[in-house]
């Protein structure tokens, strides 16, 4: 993003400190792509260590970048733990959320509801910059004494309380990121409630907007408790309070000098109170994108629009009452775990309904297999696998065996990696012509899809085998210590190789991005996919203020192949035949 000529105020106002939702959306997108790449690089180092424990990294420069973590290129355990914690944090809070919510939400939502901008443009910019700062803080923390946070992305105290300085940086970074999300979500909700164009009733909102609305509510109401918890952990670390420190701790033979009386479990409750809703924050925008792309490329309405909307609302509501399914092993009794199992099973139902609606939407369609559609279709079974493997985790009896194994890692990566990331790729390919006026290359896109599909499964499928074989997560040597893991450990090499290939599979995407940006040819129509939703009514790319005339909405969002209509799509913004 660094650009040479910076003396021109116009440039700064227009591209850096802009308050235009579209520019901010693109800023979010570029920054979060960068962080996805960082998160991926971190995990590649981890995967190397898992496959070849104790062997020096293949690239010498790595030990120059991380002299403390990779002395002589060989990873030390605390660095592995840092990488794990930071991979999780960066992927979740700096990669997926900003891309799915910040970037797509910012760019697309105002266009889809017919708004000139977000309700509070300055707040929008502030939200981006808080996110940016949070990212910087997280990155810098790799080079503070003791390295970055190394107590998992979950940061359970007392471990996190007695951890090295990196944890303090992590907490400060999180406070910034939380602030960013809060500002963003206030803005999104206000925008969707207030700035819908004439005729855009709630039941005419594209499903993507619904998904973003619920996501915004999740962020708005689930994040503050973690912010409170973060502040308390900061107090514990900086001012020696004992919110999360019980009395009588002995760390490496020395009594810890704090007053005690705190509760380690309290942190877990506050953390998961956020983090379960957070997983729906990771998936809902993706589901929204997939719904848009599927409707567009089956050339028929989404099947069960209403059930989709009610499901997503119900899912959002209930997600505040399931958090302790991450805590079955903390010593829960039968009654309270029965409660959380029940809510967990209930909440799986709306997910099942959403997926079912999307599957059934295919039936009777006239399916175009372009790149966005391929990614959207890829999302369905991948999310299916991830979701289904959530079920045995949701029952405490079966979670007893699976908790903290690679089965859990497999479960959630299926939902976030080949799930959400695929959905986001679908969104990138789908809206790229609206953002830039240029169409991405189909051939490269298809290579990107198939290669990613194969290698994603190559990375994550064996995790289920390992997990069932009793291999635990967060092990520096991938489980080598344990003799009982021996039969399934050979998969580590396979998974690592797949992860590396997964990296190579992104090269066509990168080439595609650059080549498309450089090419001269522009899309001929403002609506190249022949879509029905409102973002395609604007000029391409949309100017400041978005719409040339105030848009009016005449119908629901997915009027494709309406019987008797001349074209196979009837946009929301097209006046009825009679009124013409």
């Amino acid at each position: 993003m660094s650009v040479e000529d910076h003396n021109e105020l116009g440039f700064w106002r227009k591209y850096i400190f802009s308050t235009d939702h579209k520019v901010i959306g693109v800023q979010y997108a570029l920054t979060s792509f960068f962080f996805l790449l960082v998160g991926f690089s971190l995990v590649l180092m981890m995967r190397w260590q898992l496959a070849y424990p104790g062997q020096p990294m293949p690239f010498e420069f790595l030990s120059k970048i991380f002299p403390a973590g990779l002395p002589g290129g060989v990873m030390v355990p605390e660095f592995y733990n840092s990488l794990g914690a930071m991979h999780g944090t960066i992927m979740v809070f700096l990669g997926i959320v900003p891309l799915a919510f910040g970037a797509f939400g910012n760019f697309v939502v105002p266009l889809q509801i017919g708004a000139p901008d977000m309700a509070f443009p300055k707040l929008n910019a502030a939200s981006y910059w808080a996110f940016f700062l949070g990212g910087i803080v997280m990155l810098i923390s790799f080079w503070v004494p003791g390295g970055a946070a190394n107590s998992g992305w979950t940061s359970y105290p007392p471990l996190a309380n007695i951890a090295t300085t990196g944890q303090t940086w992590w907490l400060c970074g999180m406070v910034l990121l939380i602030t960013s999300s809060l500002l963003g979500s206030v803005n999104f909700i206000a925008t969707i409630i207030q700035l819908r164009a004439k005729g855009m009733t709630y039941m005419r909102l594209p499903f993507f907007v619904w998904a973003q609305l619920v996501t915004a509510f999740l962020l708005l109401l689930a994040f503050p408790p973690l912010e409170a918890a973060g502040v308390m952990q900061l107090m514990d670390r900086l001012f020696d309070t004992s919110f999360f420190m019980p009395s009588g701790l002995i760390v490496s033979g020395e009594a810890v000098d704090v007053s005690g009386g705190g509760s380690p479990l309290l942190w877990q409750h506050l953390f998961w109170f956020l983090a379960h809703p957070e997983v729906y924050v990771l998936i809902l925008p993706g589901m929204g994108i997939v719904a848009e792309v599927i409707a567009n490329n089956t050339r028929k309405p989404l099947w069960g629009y209403k059930s989709l909307v009610y499901s997503v609302l119900f899912l959002g509501f209930l997600s505040f009452f399931v958090w302790a399914h991450h805590m079955y092993m903390t010593g829960m009794g039968t009654v309270i775990s029965a409660f959380f199992q029940t809510t967990t099973m209930i909440i799986s139902v709306p997910s099942v309904i959403i997926l079912t609606c999307l599957f059934i939407s295919l039936w009777g369609g006239s399916i175009r297999f372009n790149t966005p559609m391929l990614f959207a279709l890829g999302f369905l079974p991948m999310f299916g696998i991830g979701g289904l493997t959530g079920l045995p985790l949701g029952f405490n009896a079966t979670d007893l065996y699976l908790h903290d194994t690679y089965y859990v890692i497999g479960h959630f990566h299926y939902v976030v990696a080949p799930g959400t990331i695929f959905a986001l790729f679908a969104g990138v390919y789908y809206w790229f012509p609206k953002v830039t006026g240029k169409m991405m290359n189909e051939m490269l896109g298809k290579i990107h899809f198939w290669a990613s599909m194969i290698f994603m499964n190559g990375v994550f499928m064996p995790m289920f085998i390992q997990g069932l074989g009793g291999v635990n997560r967060r092990l520096y040597d991938g489980g080598l210590q344990y003799a009982q893991n021996e039969p399934v450990l050979h998969w580590n090499v396979f998974m690592t190789t797949s992860a590396i290939c997964l990296g190579f599979a992104q090269i066509p995407f990168l080439i595609n991005l650059i080549a498309t940006l450089c090419k001269k040819k522009r899309v001929e129509s403002d609506n190249p996919w022949e879509a029905t939703t409102l973002e395609w009514a604007t000029p391409t790319p949309p100017p400041h203020g978005n719409f040339l005339t105030e848009p009016v909405i005449y119908r629901g969002p997915y009027e494709y192949s309406v019987p008797g209509a001349k074209k196979d799509f009837t946009p929301q913004f097209e006046p009825d035949e009679e009124s013409k």
């Binding site: 901008d117 309700a119 206030v186 689930a222 918890a229 020696d240 004992s242 007053s259 009386g261």
Partner: protein, 196 residues
């Protein structure tokens, strides 16, 4: 196109944008302070012994501060009412008073903190002081934010009064909502920390 409903309420929701925004923000604040109160409850029921606020905190000062904050809340509504009545002087007067009272609150609070520190009582003293300092500290931070916002509206922000009094009145209302919320939090903090 301009952003609609910055001043006028949207007909179907009956709200202007900033009002929706501030209430959403306050909802998140409810969650924030709610989480802290939850922490308080959990720490307290799990504690072996818990000092009674009366014995360790300065109740008269706390009471005084409660009265100060409540008064600042009514001066805040009065300032807003001044705007509605198109009486700018009245607005200025009451807004100034609000800011002043907020400052008084902070000064009193800092005396309370100071006397604790001078007795070498810090947050690390125990669970009660940890939660006491955290909650009142966070609340004080909100008071400071409120002062900044109100001072802006009293001073440089007041220019808007000439250009667009309706929008200015909205801003005052929104700032007021925030300020009343800060008051409301204290209304719960005071008995919970000082009296129980």
């Amino acid at each position: 196109m301009d952003i609609p409903y910055t001043v006028q309420p949207r007909p179907d929701t009956g709200l202007y944008n900033a009002k929706v925004g501030i209430w959403l923000f306050l909802a998140s604040e409810v969650m924030l302070f709610g989480a802290l109160f939850s922490t308080y409850i959990l720490l307290r029921v799990g504690a072996i012994d818990w000092p009674e606020g009366v014995d360790v905190l300065n109740v008269p000062l706390g009471t005084l501060n409660t009265l100060v904050l409540i008064t600042s809340s009514i001066t805040m509504v009065m300032a807003w009412a001044g705007c509605v009545m198109k009486d700018f002087k009245r607005f200025r007067f009451f807004m100034g008073l609000t800011i002043l009272l907020a400052c008084v609150f902070l000064v009193v609070k800092s005396f309370e903190y100071g006397s604790k520190f001078s007795h070498h009582i810090y947050p690390k003293e125990g669970a009660f002081y940890a939660i006491y300092f955290t909650m009142t500290g966070l609340h004080a931070f909100h008071v400071i934010c409120g002062i900044v916002v109100n001072a802006y509206l009293w001073g440089p922000g007041a220019k808007l009064w000439k250009k667009n009094p309706a929008q200015f009145t909205n801003r005052v209302e929104v700032a007021g909502l925030f300020w009343h919320f800060v008051d409301l939090v204290w209304i719960f903090l005071f008995p919970v920390l000082y009296l129980l």
